[in-house]
């Protein structure tokens, strides 16, 4: 039996600029006002532009299938706007290892003598904290995924072995 050697590489998830770009017309027609389809994809992900600005997608029959797939892909992103944060912790899966608490860049910045070196939080400004063996979220407004200049940070999702943290909004 051969040895099965696997490497954990960050998966090119569907909801990424590249994933969106693949489904766009890729003609760089500039109808939407952007310089290229790639920049349109970035803006779509940041929710700075809506899909209907790409008129060829709706007008030309060839793109109909791609448009449906895009709408399906972007739906959770649009729905996330309705909730305050979008951070979901599945408490039934979490076993309180605290990997996310130590890995979260905001926790590290706010609490350099606690979370950053692996200990429990000593500051009130941290986002993630373990209580009664389960991780709890607070101060979500300081998370790097929210606000005007949000980025697709996944520092708390990657280290979770139980897949207990999720951002359904993408």
């Amino acid at each position: 039996m051969p040895v099965d050697l696997c490497t954990n590489v960050a998966k090119d998830s569907d909801l990424s600029p590249m994933g969106i770009y693949r489904l766009l017309p890729q003609t760089n027609c500039k109808i939407c006002g952007e310089t290229s389809c790639m920049s349109f994809a970035f803006k779509l992900l940041k929710k700075e532009i809506t899909l209907d600005k790409c008129t060829p997608l709706y007008e030309e029959e060839d793109y109909e299938e791609d448009r449906r797939a895009l709408e399906e892909m972007l739906r959770p992103l649009m729905e996330a706007e309705m909730t305050e944060t979008g951070l979901v912790i599945h408490e039934d899966l979490c076993f309180g290892c605290g990997n996310c608490v130590v890995a979260c860049p905001v926790n590290v910045a706010e609490d350099p003598k606690g979370c950053a070196i692996g200990n429990g939080p000593t500051s009130d400004k941290v986002i993630l904290k373990v209580e009664n063996g389960k991780v709890k979220a607070a101060n979500v407004e300081s998370c790097r995924r929210f606000g005007e200049h949000r980025i697709l940070c996944n520092a708390c999702i990657t280290p979770c072995p139980a897949k207990a943290i999720e951002f359904p909004g993408g």
Binding site: V3, C6, N8, C94, C97, N119, V130, N132, G133
Partner: protein, 395 residues
């Protein structure tokens, strides 16, 4: 407070015990240990009849006195004082003393470390300097949930300021995709019993040859990572024990790579105390001062053991059914805080306080750092060391 749930001994636990129990920073394992202090407690029993604690101690002493070949097993997640008393009791009763470390090679590796034949390091050094950590046949995410977040992978150390993102690499080697493998950068899945071939492949890479095992490119990539490591730590567990038949070759590999070895085991306190006294870490028979595989708990159960004193370890859940049945046939005494399968099949049950919550003491972390445990709540239960001392006095 300090949590005694596993051998990580996390010292940053915030705990409030009132009508409601609130525990901050502890993992689920640690939290359940504190949360269950009022649940499922053991009652003093002799032959399933409820007795008072003095009578149970007397019956236990009587059973040990009449025994021809007694064995003392444990203690686990307990204090150094309890471990000292267990050794004293073994001397008095002329019993075999053994603990979980004799299952597989953990005890052997620990002995090598105590003799300074293999390099090791403390967990604090791991946090400050470790750049490559290998988890061979162990799954700390399941057994010691906070080990990777507190020490080996996620924290920012003194010389590893960029933490897990850039400064550290983690490699998991196991027979299945464990929870640890799920979060490690690299994972090698080895069929059971073939770890030796992987070891050989690593040795080939270290000496500049092309490995003859598995996906050569990936093995070479990981081998080179091991070669370049500045401060590597190798964590081993029970998985390694059952799949490597050439443990000395494994130790050679550890020496060749310059890695530090850290077996992930429980109850290292008893190993250290026994080593200081006799030069061996487990499997010691105080009747004839012998040391050997025949004194292993499992082998002894297959042999002519007639009485077993088990301290705070649910060993019946961890051994094959046949041996558990044998444990039921012999005179078994269980000393521990909670009721479990071992207490259920024991003839005498003696309840104790939960160490580190209801009784104070000292304990060793897995890297032999001594920690002081505090008493947090009062209880009517006696601490384990006192019970063992009273059994010893009654002998």
């Amino acid at each position: 407070m300090i949590c005694l749930g596993c051998s990580c001994l996390c010292d940053d636990i915030e705990c409030e015990i009132g009508e409601e129990i609130k525990v901050g920073n502890a993992c689920l394992r640690g939290f359940r240990r504190i949360d269950s202090i009022n649940e499922n407690r053991l009652t003093p029993r002799v032959e399933r009849k409820e007795e008072n604690i003095d009578d149970t101690i007397k019956s236990a002493a009587k059973l040990l006195e009449e025994a021809k070949n007694p064995i003392i097993f444990g203690p686990e997640n307990s204090t150094l004082e309890t471990e000292k008393e267990a050794i004293e009791l073994a001397k008095k009763a002329g019993a075999i003393i053994d603990n979980m470390s004799s299952f597989g090679y953990s005890g052997y590796l620990v002995e090598k470390i105590f003799r300074k034949e293999v390099n090791t390091c403390t967990l604090d050094e791991t946090r400050d300097d470790c750049d490559v950590s290998i988890y061979w046949g162990c799954d700390p995410m399941s057994s010691h949930p906070r080990m990777m977040s507190r020490y080996s992978y996620y924290p920012r150390g003194k010389n590893r300021q960029r933490g897990w993102e850039q400064d550290r690499d983690a490699i998991s080697i196991d027979v299945r995709r464990s929870l640890t493998a799920e979060i490690c950068d690299k994972f090698i899945k080895v069929p059971p019993g073939r770890d030796f071939e992987l070891m050989k492949a690593f040795k080939d890479v270290l000496s500049g040859k092309i490995p003859k095992f598995g996906d050569k490119k990936s093995i070479m990539k990981i081998g080179n990572l091991i070669k370049k490591a500045e401060f590597g730590v190798l964590f081993t567990g029970l998985g390694l024990n059952y799949s490597i038949n050439h443990i000395d070759d494994f130790i050679d590999l550890v020496k060749d790579t310059g890695f530090r070895l850290q077996p992930i085991i429980e109850g290292i306190g008893l190993n250290k105390l026994l080593f200081d006294e006799t030069g061996h870490v487990n499997k010691i028979n105080y009747k004839d001062k012998s040391y050997g595989i025949e004194n292993n708990f499992v082998e002894a159960l297959k042999g002519d053991i007639d009485t077993a004193l088990i301290i705070g370890s649910d060993v019946a859940s961890n051994i094959p059914l046949k041996l558990a049945k044998r444990l039921r046939e012999i005179n078994c005494i269980y000393v521990g805080p909670h009721s479990n399968l071992t207490s259920h099949i024991s003839k005498v049950n003696i309840p104790t306080a939960v160490c580190g919550i209801e009784s104070a003491g000292k304990a060793y972390r897995m890297d032999l750092k001594e920690e002081d445990l505090e008493k947090i709540v009062d209880s009517n239960f006696l601490p384990d060391q006192e019970i063992l001392k009273r059994i010893g006095d009654a002998l």
